[in-house]
Symmetry: C2
């Protein structure tokens, strides 16, 4: 149910933006990934988008407005792409679905991808910008629900569901930072995390 909801909301958000606004937001994300927070100025953004500064400012009156719109759009896309992935998955059992999610969650670790770069900048920005921080927390909550609804469509005990979310979300994010320092391969880490997740569901841990 939650998965369908996200999908239906997606086009509405996207349609509300004009092509020029979308171009500006795409260029803002590109600048953020390539040059970091420091490189993302309205002047540089106008240059990258091939527009006049005043034209950019017509759509977004401040850098903070661009940031908020860019992050919100980016998170919508990230969630939509998780939803698409889960819909295409052929995993047939809970174990296969958990393994699928875990492998997806650990796929940004062995190299610093553009997605890693974008998230690292957003984490840094969010520590000084409460609007972005709120967007980030909402994104994780939504992502948590999409994950657990996919893996356990028949539902889960409320406390077990909370535990799975509280295990997987921090692990995925931290893995994207620390993976290259760890003594396990991604495949080994994925197997461990899959086993731990299933052990929570089966009540096999000490909780």
């Amino acid at each position: 149910m939650k998965i369908r909801k996200v999908e239906e909301e997606q086009p509405i958000t996207a349609q509300a933006r004009s092509p020029k606004e979308l171009l500006i937001l795409d260029c803002a994300l590109k600048l953020l990934i390539e040059t970091g927070d420091a490189g993302l100025t309205l002047r540089k953004l106008a240059e990258t988008a091939g527009m006049r500064l005043s034209n950019v400012q017509y759509y977004f009156s401040s850098r903070d407005e661009v940031l908020a719109a860019m992050v919100s759009r980016y998170f919508d896309e990230c969630t939509a792409s998780l939803v698409t992935l889960t819909q295409q998955s052929e995993a047939a059992t809970a174990e296969e679905r958990v393994r699928f999610l875990v492998r997806t969650g650990l796929s940004h670790g062995q190299e610093i991808s553009d997605m890693c770069r974008a998230f690292r900048e957003i984490w840094a920005i969010s520590s000084r910008n409460t609007v972005i921080d709120q967007c980030l927390m909402d994104y994780y909550r939504n992502f948590s629900d999409v994950m657990t609804d996919f893996a356990f469509p028949g539902g889960l005990d409320a406390q077990v569901r909370k535990q799975l979310q509280a295990l997987l979300i921090p692990f995925f994010e931290g893995y994207s930072i620390t993976a290259r320092s760890l003594p396990l391969t991604t495949e080994e880490a994925a197997e461990m995390l899959t086993a731990l997740t299933l052990s929570i569901v089966e009540g096999q841990n000490r909780q």
Copy 2:
């Protein structure tokens, strides 16, 4: 053994820096925390340290040099402070020591502390700076060893040790970002992670 090694190396690193250098590095960290990567320029640094720009440049010829020295010093301090904490811990059993480590590891989550801010900036910088990236990976490897040597002073099966490191390090880092979006309290998350860690040691999971 590794814990002692870190302690002995600490004063040597610190002694190698003159008071002026230490002042510059302290101010650099302060600027990074307060204004982010974008706010950390040599000019701003000289101003904050109450020195001439040319004087700062006498000690550090470039911004990258300041960054590398600052990050390396900061990580030394973080490791030293974990070592001190473990030495002061009165935890008497493996379970108590694991719980102690986990609680320590999850202590930056419910608010965005200065340490969170510093790390978020360093993560972002490291995605564009290979020297800082290397420092970060070394820090996590060292931190992993300090943790496991403390919790299991009698040693651990090599594969179990790797699994614990690969569970705790990503979780701690990701928790500092995502904690406020999660449906468990820090105490509940700590109990879950402690139980999962012990289940790996006791071979109770599916691995």
